[in-house]
């Protein structure tokens, strides 16, 4: 049983991403905004398994997250691009550099996903009142980028270790 859990840990973590998305732990948030959870899983997975796997699982994650959110916008493009990009990053042997890099990479990934999502909202609601969306949306993106960058070194390094061990 333990062996099974260790071996399938990456898939088990994958299944729990939407659960965390539902759970939405407020005590981890900032201004009511949460870190962008899927990137914490996608980064170590893509770094270990490469770009193709990153793209495929970015698509899978996007499909699941789109199905549990009510909006008619999609998170798939951002996650696919991040999956591809993360797959091209090599694992650094220096632990300290690696940790900081997870934070920086996740910050940029979160910014990319947030911006692509915001552009979809703008495109759909394009009218004279579009300016009303700007300030809250920029605030959302920045808070999400900050939180994702803050938690990434802690979570990604642990997940990377677990995923490597499970191979």
């Amino acid at each position: 049983m333990n062996k099974f859990i260790v071996k399938k840990s990456s898939i088990i973590c994958f299944v729990f991403i939407p659960i965390i998305f539902f759970w939405h732990p407020n005590w981890l948030g900032f201004l009511g905004i949460q870190p962008y959870w899927p990137l914490f899983w996608l980064l170590p997975w893509s770094m270990i398994n490469g770009s193709i796997n990153g793209v495929i699982f970015g698509l899978f994650l996007g499909l699941i997250l789109d199905s549990i959110t009510l909006d008619n916008f999609t998170q798939i493009p951002g996650l696919i691009l991040c999956g591809f990009w993360f797959g091209r990053i090599k694992i650094n042997s220096d632990i300290l550099v690696g940790h900081f890099r997870y934070g920086l990479v996740c910050c940029l990934g979160s910014f990319l996903c947030g911006t692509l999502y915001f552009l979809q909202i703008l495109f759909k609601n394009f009218s004279d009142s579009t300016f009303l969306l700007f300030i809250p949306s920029v605030q959302n993106i920045l808070a999400e980028v900050f939180l994702t960058g803050l938690f990434a070194p802690l979570i990604c390094s642990q997940l990377l270790r677990i995923f490597k061990y499970s191979r």
């Binding site: 939407p18 659960i19 998305f21 539902f22 759970w23 939405h24 407020n26 948030g29 201004l31 009511g32 905004i33 949460q34 495929i56 698509l59 899978f60 499909l63 699941i64 789109d66 199905s67 549990i68 959110t69 009510l70 909006d71 008619n72 916008f73 999502y117 915001f118 909202i121 609601n125 004279d128 009142s129 009303l132 969306l133 300030i135 809250p136 949306s137 605030q139 959302n140 808070a143 999400e144």
Partner: protein, 251 residues
């Protein structure tokens, strides 16, 4: 020279892994089409022990049972009288479904709550959800055990509202923060901070006269429109129990 021939086992369809990926992809497409109902029902079961106020609810139900026989007639009379005053003839308690909030996303762009009552309890898409204070949102999708509600603060939300003091209709649109925007399609309207908003009698989505919010600030006119920030009366981040109104406003 060696004749290099492509070995048939190297075809992509001969790899078990590719078929596995394809099967997962098909499953996820099914999940996407079903609007994540499998996930939502799974979450319903694993979050059941943590639902708000389970113990309190039992205590309240037990004590109310003891009192109900004595007070039922009095309350019924009071209820009828108040409904007549508030012009709420369209709905009655038997039309409402009480539900607990089992998940809430109130930050970022995804502003939604998930309730522990679904299609098996008679919740329908388009039902109005109210909490202490007033309107919260509209049911956007249902699974067997859960229903998902788009909050008024979501960028996807657009509802017709009625400004009571100046007797005019407006449009309330979510902007991805806690205060949605009111748009009035005329720039010479005398809207003031503190004006009260309720659901519009002209709305086809909502029952009329449900309290919504209060004008928090008024912006300058732009392109013959006036906009205002609205402070909502019902606070989704604090509410644990809500009422789903099964009122058919078209009837």
């Amino acid at each position: 020279m060696l004749d290099i021939r492509r070995i048939s086992t190297s075809r992509w369809w001969h790899k078990k892994k590719n078929w596995l990926f394809f099967a997962i992809f098909l499953f996820l497409v099914f999940v996407r089409i079903s609007k994540g109902s499998l996930y939502k029902d799974f979450y319903y079961f694993i979050s059941k022990p943590f639902w708000p106020g389970q113990f309190q609810k039992e205590v309240i139900l037990k004590s109310s049972e003891q009192e109900s026989l004595i007070k039922l007639n009095l309350l019924k009379k009071d209820n009828d009288r108040l409904r007549e005053i508030l012009d709420l003839q369209q709905s009655s308690n038997s039309d409402n479904i009480s539900a607990a909030v089992i998940s809430r996303k109130i930050g970022s762009w995804w502003r939604q709550i998930i309730l522990n009552k679904g299609s098996k309890d008679g919740v329908e898409i388009g039902s109005t959800v109210v909490g202490p204070g007033g309107l919260l949102g509209i049911v956007e999708s249902t699974s067997l055990f859960t229903s998902s509600v788009t909050l008024l603060t979501s960028p996807e939300s657009k509802v017709g509202v009625w400004v009571d003091r100046i007797k005019i209709n407006g449009l309330l649109i979510g902007s991805g923060d806690d205060s949605p925007n009111l748009i009035l399609y005329s720039d010479d309207i005398d809207i003031k901070v503190g004006d009260f908003l309720s659901s519009s009698p002209a709305s086809t989505l909502l029952p009329p006269n449900i309290p919504i919010g209060i004008v928090q600030s008024v912006n300058n006119s732009l392109n013959s429109k006036k906009t205002a920030k609205i402070s909502l009366l019902a606070k989704p981040h604090l509410i644990d129990w809500v009422q789903i109104l099964k009122v058919n406003v078209n009837e």
